[in-house]
């Protein structure tokens, strides 16, 4: 089994991101999967991208443009 490397983009572990950790994942070409060194997350690129969308669900106002910043 060869050593792991990085994918074409440098994905972070989405599971760790949810607990405010930026951890680069590595890519195992034999298994065609990304994996996290810190936690037990493994997944395909599609899995990672899908979980990144889940991450964004906490930003309920992410796409809202605010014009008022007080409550007067």
């Amino acid at each position: 089994m060869a050593q792991s490397g990085k994918g074409k983009l440098n994905y972070r572990c989405p599971s760790c991101f949810l607990r405010d950790l930026d951890i680069d994942m590595f890519y195992d070409k034999d298994k065609d999967e990304f994996y996290c060194m810190r936690c037990q997350f493994t997944g395909s690129e599609a899995d990672v991208l899908s979980m990144n969308e889940t991450v964004r669900t906490r930003y309920k106002a992410m796409m809202q443009r605010f014009e008022k910043f007080d409550f007067d």
Partner: protein, 613 residues
């Protein structure tokens, strides 16, 4: 008064960008002299300069030590100074390069972490080389953090320096954790907007000319004053690629309204600061590398920088933005502000959809955060009144930890909510009646700002406290009196469902001290009650003791480890004032007063900070 929104845009030609060697060099043996790395770094710098100028914006170019060995970077800086009026300044970031490593025989790169001897040698080296090249000394400098000894040395040797990037707001344990405990920028507890640092401690603003370090400090980026306090600071600020780092964008459309919301919310702070508001954008080249950054491809990194600059450029064209270089800003700031002018920010959540609201206040005596989602509780308190001398770097007690200590920090030492036992740090009040007790931390409300010549005032919307047989409507007014070192809380019972009823109010502060999540030894703290029939004091020994005094006036704690005294006092004659010692599982102290109160009555208390030594 016409509002003024002032912006500093800063670029640095960093020949070995932070992150770039680790990211783009993955799988290669470390070589910070790689030609491809140097070429890419300069390309990024050129792109950033062109983007700012295309939008009609002036830049402060912070030359790095490494760039002083690069003729092209020097020529670019000279050209843009002549053509666009950019300031040529000198950064103490970007030290790494082959020349630096050979000369100092170290991989350290954070100026505040070096020994004082090395700090002086490096400053002289860097400033000397800058002078050799440009024929003058810079007026601006900076790093992620500039400790007081460093700033004092720079100012004494190079008096032309009048502005410095001196801290990065709430970049402390949270940033450290986000980077898997490998990014040692530990400097929580400073101001979020520009200030004049004291000679004693960079974070603590100067109270007068004697304390004035001689520079105007600006923060590294303008950060989200709610999101950064709880989460990773490097996701939420006026740094387009940080917003991408936070994944705060639509992956299909590549839109990020949050970036514009932060800028606009900063603009809105003019309302609380005599018409002045401020922004700083400083993107290091490592964030724009051609390989992309994490899941963001280069095209998105580039677009976000272009969009950020375009928004500032648009505001400038509309007459809503004043772009200044750092040196120009220092002059502007000193012409606008006096030492005791506080910095205020009534800030709302603009990301999570919660409508949560906080108020930040900073002056030479304190930095404080009031949380309206917890009934106006004080949830963060830094006692700048102590002007704590806190040496930083190798050979000092704090090699990395440059944070200004807190007395209250709701995230690191709990707040209202604790698990199973003990108490967390917060300054709030409890109302009790008929065996029931309600903490105002559970009463969510909103604040409205007003000011007088002498004070900044927050008036909170009234809240209802529902007991089994009684409803109490109570209003809180919080007053920061300029230069007083005090926070005043007025609580008034506006109405009760039974006008004849009586309730008890318990105004309290649970405090500790520290700079991280982990407890400090409380031994050495003295707790005292003054006035009344039961005045007394005790030395902290984790014994769960309490002293209460009927008719007392003041409860205080003296914390020698941080040269700080904090007191809660009342002007009431019929209050019971108390202090409470904690225990090992709850290493806190409580200062408080209780008093019976009826409809229409008002209770006033003050929290007072002083230097103790």
């Amino acid at each position: 008064m016409e509002n003024e929104f002032v912006v500093n845009i800063i670029h640095r030609p960093e020949m070995v960008p932070e992150y770039a060697e680790k990211v783009t060099g993955q799988g290669k043996k470390e070589d910070i002299g790689r030609k491809s790395l140097l070429t890419e770094s300069l390309d990024i710098f050129k792109f950033q300069q062109e983007t700012a100028h295309k939008n009609g914006l002036k830049v402060t170019i912070q030359m790095t030590y490494a760039s002083l060995f690069n003729d092209e970077a020097i020529e670019l800086a000279k050209h843009d100074h002549e053509t666009y009026g950019d300031e040529i300044a000198l950064s103490l970031l970007g030290l790494p390069c082959e020349e630096f490593r050979k000369k100092y025989n170290t991989k350290d790169f954070c100026i505040w972490m070096f020994s004082m001897e090395d700090k002086m040698a490096i400053v002289d080296d860097v400033f000397g080389k800058f002078h050799d090249i440009f024929g003058f000394y810079p007026e601006s400098t900076g790093s992620y953090y500039m400790d007081a000894d460093l700033t004092n040395y720079v100012k004494s040797k190079y008096p032309s320096v009048k502005c410095a990037v001196a801290t990065c707001w709430e970049e402390g344990p949270k940033a450290y954790h986000t980077c898997n405990n490998s990014w040692y920028t530990l400097f929580d507890g400073g101001p979020w907007n520009p200030w004049i640092p004291s000679k004693q401690n960079t974070h603590a603003p100067a109270a007068n000319e004697d304390e004035d370090s001689g520079i105007v400090a600006i923060p590294h980026l303008s950060r989200d004053l709610i999101a950064c306090y709880d989460g990773n600071g490097s996701n939420f600020g006026t740094h387009p690629q940080n917003v991408l780092r936070g994944m705060i964008y639509d992956t299909k459309t590549w839109e990020y309204p949050y970036l514009y919301n932060i800028i606009d919310q900063y603009r809105s702070l003019a309302k609380y600061n005599d018409g002045y508001s401020y922004n700083m954008m400083f993107v290091g080249p490592g964030w724009l590398n051609k390989m992309g950054r994490w899941e963001a491809p280069y095209e998105l990194l580039k677009k976000s920088y272009e969009d950020g600059m375009a928004y500032y450029g648009q505001l400038k064209k509309e007459g809503k933005l004043k772009d200044l270089t750092m040196a120009e800003f220092a002059d502007y700031y000193r012409s606008k502000k006096t030492y005791n002018d506080p910095e205020c920010a009534l800030w709302r959540d603009i990301l999570y959809g919660s409508d949560k609201q906080v108020f930040w206040y900073a002056d030479p005596y304190m930095r404080a955060c009031i949380n309206m989602d917890q009934g106006g509780a004080l949830v963060d308190l830094r006692p700048y009144a102590a002007k704590l001398e806190w040496k930083v770097g190798i050979g000092t007690p704090h090699v990395q930890d440059a944070s200004y200590p807190f007395l209250i920090q709701e995230k690191y030492r709990a707040g209202y909510f604790t698990h199973y036992a003990g108490e967390g740090t917060v300054r709030s009040a409890k109302i009790s009646h008929g065996g029931e007790e309600v903490d105002l931390c559970l009463c969510r409300t909103k604040a409205h700002f007003a000011e007088t010549d002498a004070a900044k005032v927050l008036t909170l919307d009234p809240v209802d406290i529902e007991f089994a047989d009684l409803t109490v409507t109570l209003q809180t007014v919080i007053t920061f009196e300029k230069g007083s070192s005090k926070i005043r809380y007025d609580r008034k019972i506006l109405s009760m469902s039974d006008p004849e009823a009586e309730v008890t109010i318990n105004e309290y502060m649970v405090g500790c001290y520290g700079t991280t999540e982990y407890p400090e030894d409380m031994t050495g703290i003295t707790l005292s009650v003054e006035g009344g029939s039961g005045a007394g004091s005790l030395n902290y020994e984790y014994k769960c003791r309490e002293i209460a005094s009927e008719g007392g006036k003041t409860a205080s704690a003296v914390i020698p480890a941080i040269d700080t005294s904090v007191a809660l006092s009342t002007d009431a004659d019929d209050a019971k004032v108390y202090i409470r010692e904690g225990y090992a599982f709850s290493p806190m102290y409580t200062l408080g007063m209780t008093k019976k109160i009826t409809e229409g009555e008002e209770v006033t208390t003050w929290l007072n900070l002083e230097k103790a030594n």
